[in-house]
Amino acid sequence: MSTIFFLIQQTMFFTIPLMVVALGGMFSERSGVINIALEGIMIMGGFFSILFINVMQGTLSGQLLLILAIIVATISGAAFSMLHAYAAINMKADQTISGTALNMLAPALSIFMARMIQPSGVQQIQFTNTFRIEKVPVFGDIPVIGEMFFQNTYITTYLGVAILIISAIVLFKTKFGLRLRACGEHPQAADAVGVSVYKMRYSGVAISGMLAGIGGLIFVVTTSTNFNANVAGYGFLALAVLIFGQWNPYRIAGAALFFGFMKTISATYSSIPLLYNLPITGYFYKMIPYIATLIVLVFSSKKSQSPKAAGIPYDQGAR
């Protein structure tokens, strides 16, 4: 039983950042802008928020500091994503190109800035993790559920779940969501009924920036004690989760869970006797999440549909 609790807790460490970032990507692509810059945005969000923690941790600590850091990550991610929005929306740029450029820019820029800002001239940014919650009051004492979901956790886990629910509601139940989706499917139709395609696309990209920024912070805080200008390819994995999740919030959550669980198995099989004793090599375990994803895709891709207008710059004049 406790192994199961453990697996669930660990799965969250992989799942939450992947899901949050993929949901961000969903808003961007649903508005019609392909965002392969998620990796770069995560790095920028991680950079500024960890730098913020690094600077502030003398005076602040715990959840308040984390919440402020989340705000910093949100703003910096959104700001960085505007470079992509400007290229994709105003300049009608090829979205793959500008995304690639930002993925290249982010690590170089954050190393450069870290070296400039930090007195020691190093590129890593240290922080002390004062954010873990041993046990959530009240909820943590509920039998089974408490141990599974409310012990040894971070507020970012609940933030992730909240983001999922809010994303789904915003996308499907609000005026904003309806208009956003229209812009990603048929921008001419949206334009013809007076919806500003530019505004919606800017909003979509900005949300993707915010969520990817947050995702960068979550990634670093839960897995390390310093930031070194990378997020280990999780931005690209989030992109894969987005596609795997077929641009739908619930499916994205499912895909992130699936992938996170597979990752957990492959990283922790050595402490699960049942798995350790199987005649399977460590490298194979490392490959399992990726192979499993491919296999699932083979069976689920036949009817996969991306937003129709994603990746196509919107030109008012064109028909």
Binding site: T174, V195, G317
Partner: protein, 508 residues
């Protein structure tokens, strides 16, 4: 004055072309005003200016006596102007209801309130006889219903100036009748309607006045009751147009295309789209397949041309069973195909004209050697076709097809398919969206092929086209061939009954 809307001296330029050159258009309240002109005359552009999608270089718009600057569709809507676009602007994976409310949603605390919207839509639908299913996805409904959705969109916004850009090009005769009635009803209620169409008899039927454009310039405005169809078309083209085809009787030769008990089942819905269809097309004969859109015509043609595979039955070309053969095999063994959707199937829009003209033959020894393309040969051939079929474009063989007008794109496809000297020519909706001049040309080419002993199979939703072209008419209804008649033996009305499924032939 008592014009509800006046567009004065509108000039609109695109790179390299003046699409609207000093055009004036005056619409009276409560009238149906037709806008007439050849392909590329500037009709859609002018309407886009009125709808705020283009900003004109010069000119002014006066609405109900007040000069206005229309900054965008949103403002146009708020001024009461609505538009049904030539290419529908509907989100394919939204429901009917979602499409109607998009842009004018009612919300409570930021959440959509669909119930009120639904009631209003249903009321309007009842009041104007515009039958729709509010919860159906656009991708699942017929073109006719999609158009009703577009009209409901305007009514939902309480628009009283309604623009219809070529609304009938995609409708069946019955649907056209319905639309005409609806338009008359709307006008009677005091709404003003601008109606763009290439079909002069429709103008005759519903319009009060008609403004004619030619090559971006204003030609004149006339009272429809004062003018004949012939005069109108002369005004538009600048010369006389002969739409009636001179076709001599020809005894059909041996069968070229034979379809036996063909059945096609849709992968997704598992419904049979074509049921047990059998027919023959003979040398020197034009067979037209009539029917309401969505009754299996597309699937029938796809199966014959190999784009989808037949679930059962046999297809023969010149006696050879090709049911299991590849598309390439059929194309090289006597089959030519002018597809219904020229942008989806017919052309590689990013290829230039020459490349598109050899799209079906690039692999032939004429155009390649050891896998290398023979460029001089290709250019020479393309230039020959361009001259022969009068394909107009800005840069000749090098023109990107994307930048060509719809009519000329269609000509390019026709040139390519006809010049391959096929045994069986299949043409689907060959004149869709073309102006009368281009239609005249297209029809001539089809008849010429027949006269040269080719077998021709035409699919059309346009009854007048069917009546004019066909030596024999097949009617498809729900995947079955329900009639096989000669045009001389049947009236439009009777044909309509077959198409609506109200009548079927007794036995085959």
């Amino acid at each position: 004055m008592d014009y509800i809307i006046e567009m004065r001296n509108i000039v609109k330029e695109f790179p390299g072309i003046r699409a609207n050159d000093d055009i004036t258009l005056q619409i009276k309240k409560g009238e149906i005003h037709a806008l007439l002109g050849e392909n590329g005359a500037g009709k859609s552009t002018l309407m886009s200016v009125l709808f705020g999608m283009y900003k004109p270089e010069s000119g002014s718009i006066v609405l109900r006596g007040e000069p206005v600057q229309i900054s965008g569709p949103k403002m146009a809507n708020s001024l009461g102007i609505g538009m049904v676009h030539q290419h529908f602007k509907l989100v394919h994976n939204f429901t009917v209801l979602q499409n109607i409310i998009l842009g004018v949603e009612t919300t409570k605390n930021g959440f959509l309130k669909m119930d009120e919207a639904r009631k209003k839509v249903m009321d309007l639908s009842e009041q104007y006889g515009l039958k729709v299913d509010p919860d159906a996805l656009i991708s699942d409904i017929s073109v006719g219903m999609q158009q009703r959705v577009e009209i409901l969109k305007m009514l939902y916004r309480d628009n009283d100036i309604l623009i219809f850009d070529e609304p009938t090009a995609v409708l069946t005769p019955q649907e056209i009748d319905e639309l005409m009635e609806i338009m008359k009803g709307l006008a009677a209620e005091g709404k003003s309607i601008i109606f763009i169409t290439h079909k002069l008899e429709e103008i005759k039927r519903v319009a009060n006045r008609c403004t004619v454009l030619r090559l971006g310039k204003y030609v004149g405005t006339v009272n429809v009751s004062d003018i004949t169809v012939e005069e109108m078309s002369e005004m538009m083209v600048g010369r006389k147009v002969i739409l009636d085809i001179e076709k001599e009787y020809k005894e059909p030769g041996k069968p070229v295309l034979e379809v036996e008990n063909l059945t096609v089942i849709d992968n997704r819905s598992k419904k049979d789209k074509v049921k047990n269809a059998s027919f023959k097309v003979n040398e020197g004969e034009i067979i037209c397949i009539a029917g309401v859109d969505g009754n299996g015509q597309s699937e029938l043609i796809y199966a014959i041309t190999g784009l989808i595979h037949a679930d059962s039955g046999v297809i023969k070309i010149l006696g050879e069973d090709v049911t299991k053969k590849s598309i390439r095999y059929r194309n090289t063994h006597g089959l030519s195909h002018i597809p219904e959707d020229r942008h989806k199937w017919g052309l590689v829009l990013d290829y230039n004209l020459a490349e598109n003209l050899i799209l079906m033959e690039y692999f032939e020894d004429k155009y390649q050697k050891c896998g290398f393309l023979k460029e001089p040969e290709i250019i020479k051939y393309a230039e020959k076709l361009i001259a022969q079929y009068d394909i107009r474009s800005s840069e000749g063989t090098k023109t990107k097809v994307r930048s060509m007008s719809g009519g000329n794109q269609q000509k390019a496809i026709a040139a390519r398919e006809l010049s391959r000297n096929p045994d069986i020519l299949i043409a689907v909706q060959p004149t869709r969206g073309l102006d009368v001049g281009a239609i005249e040309y297209m029809h001539k080419e089809i008849v010429k092929a027949r006269d040269n002993g080719k077998a021709v199979l035409v699919v059309s939703f346009d009854l007048s086209e069917v009546m004019r072209l066909a030596d024999r008419i097949l009617v498809m209804y729900e995947g079955e061939i329900v009639a096989d008649v000669k045009p001389s033996e049947i009236t439009d009305k009777e044909l309509g009954l077959y198409m609506a499924g109200a009548k079927r032939r007794e036995a085959i």
